[in-house]
Symmetry: C2
Subunit: 125 residues, 2 copies
Amino acid sequence: MEYPDLTFDERGLITAVVQQFDTLEVLMVAWMDAEALRRTAESGRTWFWSRSRQAYWNKGETSGHMQIVKEIRYDCDGDTLLLLVDQVGVACHTGERSCFYRAMYPVPGDGAAKTNESTDGIPLS
Amino acid sequence: MEYPDLTFDERGLITAVVQQFDTLEVLMVAWMDAEALRRTAESGRTWFWSRSRQAYWNKGETSGHMQIVKEIRYDCDGDTLLLLVDQVGVACHTGERSCFYRAMYPVPGDGAAKTNESTDGIPLS
Protein backbone atom coordinates (compact mmCIF):
# COMPACT_ATOMS: atom_id res chain seq x y z
CA MET A 1 0.00 0.00 0.00
CA GLU A 2 1.35 3.38 -0.99
CA TYR A 3 0.31 6.86 0.00
CA PRO A 4 1.66 9.12 -2.73
CA ASP A 5 0.43 12.31 -1.09
CA LEU A 6 1.92 11.54 2.31
CA THR A 7 5.43 12.22 3.59
CA PHE A 8 6.67 9.96 6.34
CA ASP A 9 9.65 11.25 8.33
CA GLU A 10 13.13 9.73 8.54
CA ARG A 11 11.75 7.17 11.01
CA GLY A 12 8.93 6.25 8.63
CA LEU A 13 6.39 7.97 10.86
CA ILE A 14 3.66 10.55 10.46
CA THR A 15 1.93 12.55 13.20
CA ALA A 16 -1.71 11.63 13.78
CA VAL A 17 -4.02 14.10 15.53
CA VAL A 18 -7.20 12.47 16.80
CA GLN A 19 -10.34 14.57 17.14
CA GLN A 20 -13.84 13.66 18.30
CA PHE A 21 -15.91 13.96 15.11
CA ASP A 22 -18.95 15.73 16.57
CA THR A 23 -17.72 17.87 19.46
CA LEU A 24 -14.38 18.52 17.67
CA GLU A 25 -12.48 18.08 20.93
CA VAL A 26 -8.85 17.16 20.26
CA LEU A 27 -8.42 13.88 22.11
CA MET A 28 -4.80 12.82 21.61
CA VAL A 29 -1.81 12.86 19.28
CA ALA A 30 0.11 9.74 18.34
CA TRP A 31 2.26 8.32 15.55
CA MET A 32 1.53 6.06 12.61
CA ASP A 33 3.69 4.37 10.03
CA ALA A 34 2.29 3.17 6.70
CA GLU A 35 1.32 -0.19 8.19
CA ALA A 36 -0.55 1.40 11.11
CA LEU A 37 -2.39 3.61 8.63
CA ARG A 38 -3.25 0.61 6.49
CA ARG A 39 -4.61 -1.28 9.50
CA THR A 40 -6.61 1.79 10.53
CA ALA A 41 -8.15 2.26 7.08
CA GLU A 42 -8.96 -1.44 6.75
CA SER A 43 -10.43 -1.95 10.21
CA GLY A 44 -12.04 1.44 10.82
CA ARG A 45 -10.35 1.42 14.23
CA THR A 46 -7.19 3.33 15.12
CA TRP A 47 -3.78 1.68 15.08
CA PHE A 48 -0.64 3.54 16.04
CA TRP A 49 3.08 2.95 16.32
CA SER A 50 4.53 3.25 19.80
CA ARG A 51 7.98 4.81 19.67
CA SER A 52 8.72 3.81 23.26
CA ARG A 53 7.63 0.20 22.89
CA GLN A 54 8.56 -0.09 19.19
CA ALA A 55 5.32 -1.91 18.56
CA TYR A 56 1.91 -1.43 16.99
CA TRP A 57 -0.98 -0.73 19.28
CA ASN A 58 -4.68 -0.85 18.63
CA LYS A 59 -6.30 1.89 20.69
CA GLY A 60 -8.81 0.36 23.10
CA GLU A 61 -7.73 -3.23 22.49
CA THR A 62 -7.30 -3.84 26.20
CA SER A 63 -9.29 -0.95 27.72
CA GLY A 64 -12.26 -1.13 25.37
CA HIS A 65 -11.83 2.58 24.74
CA MET A 66 -11.67 2.20 21.01
CA GLN A 67 -11.89 4.90 18.37
CA ILE A 68 -14.33 4.40 15.50
CA VAL A 69 -12.84 6.16 12.49
CA LYS A 70 -15.18 8.50 10.64
CA GLU A 71 -12.73 10.34 8.42
CA ILE A 72 -9.00 10.69 7.80
CA ARG A 73 -7.78 14.04 6.56
CA TYR A 74 -4.23 15.08 5.70
CA ASP A 75 -2.54 18.44 5.61
CA CYS A 76 -1.11 20.55 2.81
CA ASP A 77 2.40 19.18 3.32
CA GLY A 78 1.13 15.62 3.62
CA ASP A 79 3.11 15.14 6.82
CA THR A 80 0.27 15.17 9.36
CA LEU A 81 -2.97 13.22 9.58
CA LEU A 82 -6.19 14.36 11.25
CA LEU A 83 -8.45 11.51 12.25
CA LEU A 84 -12.07 12.26 13.06
CA VAL A 85 -13.29 9.50 15.32
CA ASP A 86 -16.03 8.51 17.69
CA GLN A 87 -14.21 7.86 20.96
CA VAL A 88 -15.71 5.11 23.11
CA GLY A 89 -15.11 5.94 26.77
CA VAL A 90 -12.03 8.07 27.26
CA ALA A 91 -8.97 8.72 25.14
CA CYS A 92 -6.43 9.30 27.90
CA HIS A 93 -4.82 6.59 30.03
CA THR A 94 -5.30 8.92 33.03
CA GLY A 95 -9.07 8.52 32.71
CA GLU A 96 -9.56 12.01 31.29
CA ARG A 97 -11.65 12.25 28.15
CA SER A 98 -8.84 14.09 26.32
CA CYS A 99 -5.09 13.94 26.89
CA PHE A 100 -5.03 17.76 26.79
CA TYR A 101 -6.60 18.32 30.19
CA ARG A 102 -3.96 20.78 31.47
CA ALA A 103 -3.28 24.39 30.49
CA MET A 104 -0.07 26.36 30.91
CA TYR A 105 -1.16 29.63 29.33
CA PRO A 106 -2.60 32.03 30.32
CA VAL A 107 -0.69 31.67 33.56
CA PRO A 108 -3.13 30.39 36.22
CA GLY A 109 -4.09 33.21 38.56
CA ASP A 110 -3.73 35.72 35.77
CA GLY A 111 -6.91 37.74 35.41
CA ALA A 112 -7.23 36.48 31.87
CA ALA A 113 -7.08 32.84 32.91
CA LYS A 114 -10.15 30.79 32.22
CA THR A 115 -11.91 28.98 34.98
CA ASN A 116 -11.64 25.30 34.22
CA GLU A 117 -11.88 22.72 36.94
CA SER A 118 -9.88 20.22 34.94
CA THR A 119 -7.03 22.65 34.41
CA ASP A 120 -3.93 21.84 36.40
CA GLY A 121 -1.80 24.59 35.00
CA ILE A 122 1.77 25.45 35.76
CA PRO A 123 3.24 28.92 35.59
CA LEU A 124 5.69 29.74 32.86
CA SER A 125 9.07 30.08 34.55
CA MET B 1 12.94 29.53 30.74
CA GLU B 2 12.16 25.97 31.72
CA TYR B 3 9.12 23.84 31.15
CA PRO B 4 9.34 21.07 33.72
CA ASP B 5 6.21 19.30 32.54
CA LEU B 6 7.21 19.23 28.87
CA THR B 7 9.33 16.71 27.01
CA PHE B 8 11.14 17.96 23.94
CA ASP B 9 12.36 15.29 21.53
CA GLU B 10 15.96 14.50 20.58
CA ARG B 11 15.90 17.50 18.25
CA GLY B 12 14.68 19.76 21.05
CA LEU B 13 11.24 20.00 19.45
CA ILE B 14 7.65 19.50 20.51
CA THR B 15 4.60 19.06 18.27
CA ALA B 16 2.16 21.97 18.33
CA VAL B 17 -1.43 21.43 17.18
CA VAL B 18 -3.22 24.70 16.42
CA GLN B 19 -6.99 24.86 16.81
CA GLN B 20 -9.43 27.74 16.26
CA PHE B 21 -10.64 28.52 19.79
CA ASP B 22 -14.35 28.98 19.03
CA THR B 23 -15.17 26.70 16.10
CA LEU B 24 -12.59 24.10 17.29
CA GLU B 25 -11.44 23.53 13.71
CA VAL B 26 -7.92 22.09 13.63
CA LEU B 27 -5.98 24.61 11.54
CA MET B 28 -2.43 23.30 11.29
CA VAL B 29 0.33 21.38 13.02
CA ALA B 30 3.87 22.70 13.38
CA TRP B 31 6.91 22.42 15.65
CA MET B 32 8.22 24.50 18.51
CA ASP B 33 11.38 24.45 20.54
CA ALA B 34 11.61 26.03 24.00
CA GLU B 35 12.54 29.39 22.51
CA ALA B 36 9.59 29.40 20.09
CA LEU B 37 7.30 28.54 23.00
CA ARG B 38 8.80 31.34 25.08
CA ARG B 39 8.26 33.84 22.25
CA THR B 40 4.70 32.61 21.82
CA ALA B 41 3.86 32.93 25.50
CA GLU B 42 5.46 36.35 25.75
CA SER B 43 3.94 37.84 22.61
CA GLY B 44 0.59 36.09 22.51
CA ARG B 45 1.28 35.33 18.84
CA THR B 46 2.49 31.98 17.50
CA TRP B 47 6.15 31.30 16.83
CA PHE B 48 7.36 28.00 15.39
CA TRP B 49 10.58 26.30 14.39
CA SER B 50 10.89 25.44 10.72
CA ARG B 51 12.72 22.15 10.30
CA SER B 52 13.24 22.74 6.59
CA ARG B 53 14.57 26.28 6.93
CA GLN B 54 16.16 25.73 10.36
CA ALA B 55 14.78 29.07 11.48
CA TYR B 56 12.10 30.58 13.68
CA TRP B 57 8.99 31.86 12.03
CA ASN B 58 6.26 34.09 13.36
CA LYS B 59 3.00 32.96 11.80
CA GLY B 60 1.47 35.80 9.81
CA GLU B 61 4.54 38.03 9.98
CA THR B 62 4.53 38.50 6.22
CA SER B 63 1.00 37.43 5.29
CA GLY B 64 -0.79 39.19 8.13
CA HIS B 65 -2.51 35.89 8.89
CA MET B 66 -1.47 35.87 12.52
CA GLN B 67 -2.74 33.67 15.30
CA ILE B 68 -3.83 35.35 18.54
CA VAL B 69 -3.14 32.86 21.31
CA LYS B 70 -6.02 32.23 23.70
CA GLU B 71 -4.76 29.18 25.54
CA ILE B 72 -1.91 26.67 25.48
CA ARG B 73 -2.70 23.17 26.67
CA TYR B 74 -0.34 20.18 26.92
CA ASP B 75 -0.97 16.48 26.90
CA CYS B 76 -0.57 13.76 29.51
CA ASP B 77 2.92 12.84 28.27
CA GLY B 78 3.96 16.49 27.99
CA ASP B 79 5.20 15.89 24.46
CA THR B 80 2.48 17.69 22.51
CA LEU B 81 1.01 21.18 22.76
CA LEU B 82 -2.50 22.24 21.80
CA LEU B 83 -2.80 25.94 21.06
CA LEU B 84 -6.23 27.51 21.00
CA VAL B 85 -5.98 30.60 18.82
CA ASP B 86 -8.00 33.15 16.95
CA GLN B 87 -6.79 32.80 13.37
CA VAL B 88 -6.75 36.03 11.38
CA GLY B 89 -7.45 35.24 7.72
CA VAL B 90 -6.38 31.73 6.80
CA ALA B 91 -3.95 29.27 8.36
CA CYS B 92 -2.80 27.49 5.20
CA HIS B 93 -0.34 28.86 2.65
CA THR B 94 -2.65 27.46 -0.06
CA GLY B 95 -5.31 29.97 0.93
CA GLU B 96 -7.48 27.36 2.64
CA ARG B 97 -8.70 28.20 6.11
CA SER B 98 -7.23 24.95 7.49
CA CYS B 99 -4.29 22.91 6.24
CA PHE B 100 -6.48 19.79 6.55
CA TYR B 101 -8.67 20.45 3.53
CA ARG B 102 -8.29 17.02 1.95
CA ALA B 103 -9.68 13.65 2.99
CA MET B 104 -8.38 10.19 2.12
CA TYR B 105 -10.87 8.10 4.06
CA PRO B 106 -13.57 7.09 3.51
CA VAL B 107 -12.48 6.51 -0.07
CA PRO B 108 -14.16 9.16 -2.27
CA GLY B 109 -17.01 7.66 -4.24
CA ASP B 110 -17.72 5.25 -1.43
CA GLY B 111 -21.35 5.53 -0.36
CA ALA B 112 -20.19 6.41 3.11
CA ALA B 113 -18.12 9.36 1.94
CA LYS B 114 -19.22 12.75 3.12
CA THR B 115 -20.04 15.46 0.65
CA ASN B 116 -17.51 18.22 1.11
CA GLU B 117 -16.70 20.66 -1.63
CA SER B 118 -13.25 21.33 -0.24
CA THR B 119 -12.38 17.64 -0.16
CA ASP B 120 -9.87 16.63 -2.78
CA GLY B 121 -9.57 13.07 -1.69
CA ILE B 122 -7.41 10.30 -3.05
CA PRO B 123 -8.22 6.63 -2.93
CA LEU B 124 -6.25 4.37 -0.66
CA SER B 125 -4.04 2.30 -2.92
